[in-house]
């Protein structure tokens, strides 16, 4: 993965962005015999309400695409392995980890990131609640926490403290701001009704 990090994230994505017609830079081996077509794929999707078209290597994740190609850096990369939840976004209204979602699978999809949650200048009730209730310390996990919480409340799975804790367990907070996070979700749950 270091290779992917080093070349794809910082280099390849940027390169593809500036020189759309450039041939794909071959990374790593693949099988020598019968080379399949590893060319780029074009994906048309809606991101935070805006129609977007991206052409990228099929290995690119939704996480890298929103951060590096679309400049939406609110979505965080913690583990890149589905284990921390920092990269949580909504695809077609459902919470997913963007680090394990391939961009190539999203043709026709609608994606919402933390940047798309607020209503113009009016923060989302969860954003306000996280501030009101001290739902964060360093803030690194917060966009993922908020995106998860928004889906959990919408699904009607935030009825009790135990249910909130269980439903939010895919979002790890290294600063252990859990009591504040729980309080924030309780507050927003009432406002979002």
């Amino acid at each position: 993965m270091t290779q992917h990090e080093g070349i794809t994230r910082r280099g390849l994505l940027g390169m593809v962005g500036t020189a759309a017609a450039a041939a794909t830079v071959p990374l790593g081996g693949g099988s020598a015999a019968a080379q399949p077509d590893t060319g780029e794929v074009t994906v048309r999707m809606t991101v935070n309400g805006t129609a977007t078209s991206l052409t990228a290597d099929p290995r690119v994740t939704l996480l890298d695409a929103v951060r590096e190609r679309l400049g939406l850096t609110g979505t965080k990369k913690g583990c890149d392995r589905g284990q921390c939840g920092a990269c949580t976004v909504h695809v077609d209204g459902r919470r997913v980890v963007s680090c394990l979602t391939l961009l190539a699978t999203l043709d026709g999809a609608s994606v919402t990131t933390i940047e798309g949650l607020a209503d113009g200048d009016r923060p989302h009730p969860l954003q306000r609640a996280f501030v009101d209730q001290d739902g964060l310390q360093c803030g690194f996990c917060t966009p993922g926490q908020i995106m998860s919480a928004a889906a959990v409340i919408a699904e009607g799975r935030a009825r009790t403290d135990d249910e909130i804790r269980e439903q939010m367990s895919g979002n790890i907070c290294r600063c252990s701001a859990y009591p504040g996070i729980l309080a924030a979700i309780r507050q927003a749950r009432t406002e979002m009704r």
């Binding site: 790593g28 589905g82 919470r95 980890v97 394990l100």
Partner: protein
């Protein structure tokens, strides 16, 4: 990550036709993308099967049929599943995280790979990942490894919670290959490691799982799944138990018992079932029956706690079932 060609077949026939030994089907991607990043899996073609019509839950004619591409969270939330097979809903609810359950498919869940740390680390040998390279787990870190079904070549556990519940329910998988369709008992679908731990299941190259079929079992309304792990949520099982019991008055007349976290594949415990049947549903009965579960276990250096934990997990599951009488 190695490069690959990305294709989106539109029909089952098309998907199966394109598939071969170097290809991988992509459903939710929560195993495949993870393992491609680690270069544990290096397909040269990724076939995104999400456009295939392998969706839906069907209860007509008794039993339950689940399309392979149904998502874990949707199946868990379905009232028909919750009512008729609580053990399934609970096994799914207790798996992974909310985000992962939203993404992950039923078919992919059954085909997820072991979480053995050596398997996931390409800088170490591993017979499952690289046949013949050796098994560092057997003489190394093996706290989470199997006490049932292991060989001298591999002691990795099968990580799926869902599979444990399905094995208890005698579920079958429908498979579709180029040569046609066939149905296999999930219990026989998973292979013991033996000398060939890289062969994990009875799926021919390019074959697709299309459906999971759960036979009708009216008394599975009294069933439950108990999962013991290092933390309370979002963790794989150290131990788990899927149990269903049919009572006549106070007497157990039929039972289904399977455990997870213990075996190299989801492990059905027919000896425990036999030890339950014909006896009164009391804690004494459960303890005596659970004791038969540890026969044949072979602990390694760091997992000697597992047989005892298995017994206790079974007893707890059977006691919890009493609450639902």
């Amino acid at each position: 990550m190695r490069s690959y060609a990305f294709e989106r077949p539109g029909t089952v026939t098309d998907a199966v036709r394109r598939a071969g030994s170097g290809s991988a089907f992509l459903a939710g991607g929560t195993t495949l993308v993870d393992l491609m990043k680690l270069e544990v899996m290096t397909p040269d073609r990724v076939l995104d099967i999400n456009r295939l019509p392998l969706r839906g839950l069907d209860t007509t004619g008794g039993g339950l049929r689940i399309g392979a591409l149904e998502r874990m969270s949707d199946v868990a939330a379905d009232p028909r599943v919750r009512r008729a097979y609580p053990v399934l809903g609970q096994a799914l609810d207790l798996s992974a995280s909310g985000q992962l359950r939203t993404m992950a498919s039923i078919g992919g869940n059954l085909l997820q790979r072991t979480r053995c740390g050596y398997f996931r680390d390409v800088s170490t040998p591993c017979n499952k990942r690289l046949p013949g390279s050796g098994c560092p787990a057997i003489g190394g870190e093996n706290r989470t490894h199997a006490v049932l079904g292991a060989s001298g070549s591999c002691a990795a556990t099968h990580p799926s919670d869902l599979a444990v519940a399905l094995v208890a329910l005698d579920a079958k998988v429908r498979l579709q290959g180029r040569e046609g369709a066939r149905t296999v008992d999930l219990r026989d679908f998973y292979l013991l490691p033996g000398d060939t731990p890289h062969l994990e299941h009875d799926l021919r190259p390019g074959e697709l799982v299309t459906e999971v079929v759960v036979p009708a079992l009216p008394w599975a309304r009294r069933s439950t799944y108990v999962k013991i792990r290092d933390r309370r949520s979002f963790e794989f099982a150290l131990s788990s138990a899927a149990v269903a019991v049919r009572l006549d008055g106070d007497t157990i007349v039929e039972a289904r018992v399977a455990v997870g976290g213990m075996g190299t594949r989801p492990w059905r415990l027919t000896a425990v079932e036999r030890a339950l049947v014909g006896r009164r549903a009391t804690e004494e009965t459960y303890v005596a029956a659970a004791a038969t579960a540890v026969e044949g276990t072979r602990p390694l250096r760091h997992n000697a706690y597992k047989p005892e934990l298995m017994k206790r997990t079974l007893v707890r599951a059977l006691l919890e079932l009493e609450q639902t009488r």
